[in-house]
Homo-oligomer: 139 residues x 2
Amino acid sequence: MITRLSQEEARALLTTSRVGRLGCVYEGGPYVVPINYVLDGENIYTHSLPGRKLEALRANPKACLQVDEVTDEYHWRSAIAFGAYEEVTNPTERDRAVRALQAGFPKLTPVESVPVHDGQSSVVIFRIRIQEITGVGEK
Amino acid sequence: MITRLSQEEARALLTTSRVGRLGCVYEGGPYVVPINYVLDGENIYTHSLPGRKLEALRANPKACLQVDEVTDEYHWRSAIAFGAYEEVTNPTERDRAVRALQAGFPKLTPVESVPVHDGQSSVVIFRIRIQEITGVGEK
């Protein structure tokens, strides 16, 4: 039977997951990509090179991040955070977000992280400011 | 380095994956849910109970299905199929789709599958008619 997750369960799934699927709207249709991210309070932080995802989010800031644990077709949980895209350009905020991402993903190489610090990188740091979290599961 | 997958690689990933993330547009924003599906030629078949997903797809038939294999943040592949939502109501087509889903997911119980056959179920069978497949990866 499919049941709704509590806010705590849904948030815990979003907090512990390593990979999420970012959804956005591109030319009126859906676009979904896997991302690594960190959840910090009411914000989801991630980084991206230029491409369709950023183009979509800059045109329509409505975004979602979906995460799940799927054991089989009758044992799974899925949570989704809906929110608004915001580019992180303030140097202090950007530095903090980069450090949080580096802490979460120690494999991030200087190739990606150093240029972010000196402002020379084409890597964009952005957040999804969470407005709503929901989740469902079956077991 | 992130590279584009060939059409064959992207299609193979969509064919072998068991779980995909269905993207659709709900009230102008993205909505993403995990689904089990089968890929049959140029169609993705799946089933759903009534809910936000069907409401979204009936209002805006633009859909996508994203699948991936993620080893870590530098070793992953992701493929996405874009297409149009179509409800499968023709009894012959519906029967064929249900059989394909049952073959792919033997755990589908009579509770879900039998009512589909006799038309008494609230389970909707639908397909995404594929218009474009793309994929990217990093290794």
